[in-house]
Symmetry: C2
Subunit: 115 residues, 2 copies
């Protein structure tokens, strides 16, 4: 499938912020299945992710595209990419270079255990 | 931690729809780590999830709380629950009764493989 075709399949309209439509993207370790983080992608970041096989997101707080790891070199290499039955969520299975996905220095952003 | 304390930690303000704040909730199989689905929780659905140890979500299309599997009996039993470093995403590890999480009859909602 062409990248444009894939992007046209995704429904970016349900969540909007400053007129930018985006969808949640779950980032999972391709080897052991750990959930590393969840961020948001808009059309442009999905296009770059598919083109460059590294993850790009849209940061609402900074109002800009964000290439994960572009400064540190700790990028996420895309191994698999899926969208869901409603066409409004992305799942990316990655190899996390350096092993650490969270800005706190922890491997995963989900370190606050409630149950 | 008390349920109210946990709910007060979560930032429901970033995504709003009809003045209801909600956060993405990733549902993962607690045994093999498969991502079953992603849906949204508001305060009330998180409270019910923590209280009853089964997943509740907020459906924007139907504009109502939704107890996953309440009709079919195919509920999701909560084994672990986490929130992320930004306090705005939930990860629930569940036992999916009946094994099927997606309304299409597939185990996972993420059956559309792009890469």
């Amino acid at each position: 499938m062409e990248i444009k075709e894939i992007i046209n399949k995704i429904d970016f309209s349900k969540i909007k912020w400053k007129d930018i439509g985006f969808v949640p993207a779950v980032v999972q370790d391709y080897k052991d299945g750990a959930i590393l983080m969840v961020a948001f992608m808009n059309k442009e970041s999905l296009e770059l992710t598919l083109k460059n096989k590294e993850t790009y997101f849209y940061s609402r707080s900074r109002n800009e595209l964000w290439h994960k790891g572009h400064k540190s070199g700790e990028v996420q290499k895309v191994k698999e990419l899926y969208y869901d039955c409603d066409n409004d969520t992305i799942l990316v299975k990655v190899e996390q270079v350096g092993g650490v996905a969270c800005h706190t220095g922890k491997r995963s952003c989900f370190f606050n255990k409630v149950i």
